[in-house]
């Protein structure tokens, strides 16, 4: 998977490394600001209220 991505990034090693870094940061940002906030309320361990 990662090998495949690496081979399909354009340019020499330096440009590939830079692009790979951008991709990693984009994925991390997507997880932190979109995916996790959406997933979190659906998980059961965050309840702090008492209710029936």
């Amino acid at each position: 998977m990662y090998g495949w991505i690496w081979r399909h990034l354009p340019g020499n090693s330096a440009s590939r490394a830079a692009l790979a870094l951008v991709l990693v940061l984009a994925v991390v940002a997507l997880l932190l600001f979109v995916v996790f906030p959406w997933v979190e309320p659906r998980l059961p361990y965050n309840d702090v209220t008492v209710d029936q």
Binding site: L31, F36, E40, N46, D47, V50
Partner: protein
Amino acid sequence: MAEPELDVGQRVPPSDPRGRRRDPLWQRLARGAGELLVTAGFVLLLFVVYEVYVTDLLNDRQQDQLSEEIQQQWADQPPAAPGTPIVEQGAPGVGEPLAVLHVPRLGEDWSRVVLEGTAEDQLSQGPGHYVGTALPGQVGNLALAGHRVGKGSPFLDADQLLPGDPIVVETADAWYVYRVLGGAATGDYAADPSGVPGQQIVAPSDVSVIAPTPGGAEATQAYLTLTTCHPKYSARQRLIVHAVLDGAGISKADDPDGPPELEG
């Protein structure tokens, strides 16, 4: 993908048309599965980082905004007749800031803006006031819920509150000092003659802790109750802290800087 034919006479590994070596299919599958598992591990770690640190950062910003918002509201309010309790002003709408909570035991200058409502929408911003429970200073039970871990972790150390510790609630024009129940000298949470303990751990369904008098009776005194999850990182039980109003509210007109209890 078909493997290129291997020339028996040559000692070259199999290669695709671009001259790259190709591993057997099972090796490529195993590598792909391994990469997926490692990736999943990193995603889970990142989720922990998110829960424990990133939500705190986001919450800090929201609390700053709320703090400005409530100070603005208080400044804009026509000055109520001296001593008009918040009760007569009524509770704000769900999601609106209600009061500012100060708990010296939880840290120097520890304060959080409390919002009306206990849905996740409010709790992700700060402690929430159970709708319909008493307002600051009112006879009954001022019940507040807050996160233990993450989202600013307002009640992370709620279990450290000792009998007699002050919990100060600041409203537009008054300060209310509540004290955690129990024997301040002995540290015994169960020492209060009313039978209401200063701290208890209950099942999540035990709504009697936020009844007008904790335990279920009619309203008799002005109580304050904090609820959060217990143990940390779990939602199996609830940690409950009960406090009772100490004296009357202190008007901000008389004491703009707050009661001495704020100094810790």
